[in-house]
């Protein structure tokens, strides 16, 4: 498996992998919003100047997974806000089929405002976003190495504090980050009752557990 920066030519693979995670992790709203939405979202993120997406590619050129981050979440959210019409239109089909998503989408949109009290995600600094791996891959351990490559790359790019969020009911992932040197900054409750940990890696002082 080799790891490399994802490019716009990887769009379809990234969308497919993210869309398919709803089979194993059914709570995330992005996958529920459907492939057209994901396609629009990743088109924006892959072209965002602050976006950093690492993907894992096997010897045959097949993408097994990816993880994404932004160097500046405020600027990225501003970019997403500018494209809200395109994003909204791309989600219409899923919203019609599942109207309960409208409130979730609205809550998520509101949470992008740095002055909001309705915090769902970290809204300042560098932020780690999605981490997805194909259920069909026979080498899931590489997903951990891919994540480590992302952390190393962000450190090289000058990131000290990397913020991210994990739902605590996603116990294994939550513990992974804790074992891997992340600290919990706060815990919040989402409108649907989920407990979410707001977490941070200090990429300078963190002791890496995974040697690549």
């Amino acid at each position: 498996m080799r790891f490399r920066l994802a490019k716009i030519c990887d769009l379809n693979d990234i969308v497919d992998i993210h869309y398919n995670i709803r089979e194993t992790y059914s709570i995330g709203i992005f996958a529920k919003l459907g492939k057209p939405f994901l396609r629009e979202y990743y088109k924006i993120v892959l072209c965002d100047k602050n976006g950093v997406i690492i993907c894992a590619e096997d010897e045959y050129g097949k993408i097994h997974g990816f993880c994404s981050a932004t160097l500046n979440v405020e600027e990225q959210f501003e970019n997403l806000r500018k494209n809200r019409l395109k994003l909204g239109i791309s989600a219409i089909g899923s919203l019609i089929r599942n109207p309960s998503l409208i409130k979730q989408l609205f809550d998520r949109y509101r949470s992008m405002d740095k002055n909001t009290n309705a915090k769902i995600v970290n809204v300042k600094g560098a932020r780690s976003e999605f981490w997805a791996w194909s259920a069909n891959s026979d080498d899931s351990f590489s997903s951990l190495e891919m994540h480590e490559v992302l952390l190393n790359l962000l450190r090289v790019l000058g990131v000290v504090d990397l913020f991210f969020e994990v739902d605590t009911n996603n116990k294994k992932v939550f513990l992974f980050h804790k074992f891997n040197g992340a600290e919990v900054l706060d815990k919040i409750y989402l409108p649907d009752g989920r407990e979410r940990a707001l977490m941070k890696y200090n990429l300078i002082i963190r002791k890496s557990r995974l040697k690549i």
Binding site: F141, L144, K172, L175, N180, R209, L210, K211
Partner: protein
Amino acid sequence: MDITKFLKNFADQFDDIDTSGIKPETRFKEIEGWSSLLAFSVIAMIDDEYGISLKGDDIRNSNTISDLFELVKSKL
């Protein structure tokens, strides 16, 4: 370093399943609940308990718990 303690430390990483059947010759990747995240917690346990940093390939190339034990022992 003894295998009994290593086995217990290994089994402690599983919190949802009965680990009473885990033996040195158990092929750990076939244990119910084995995953990449569990592999990571085994790596972290070995780092904490024995001060040895394993790589992903060490896990990939090991089949049984005994293989892992011998690997760690050889690096001490």
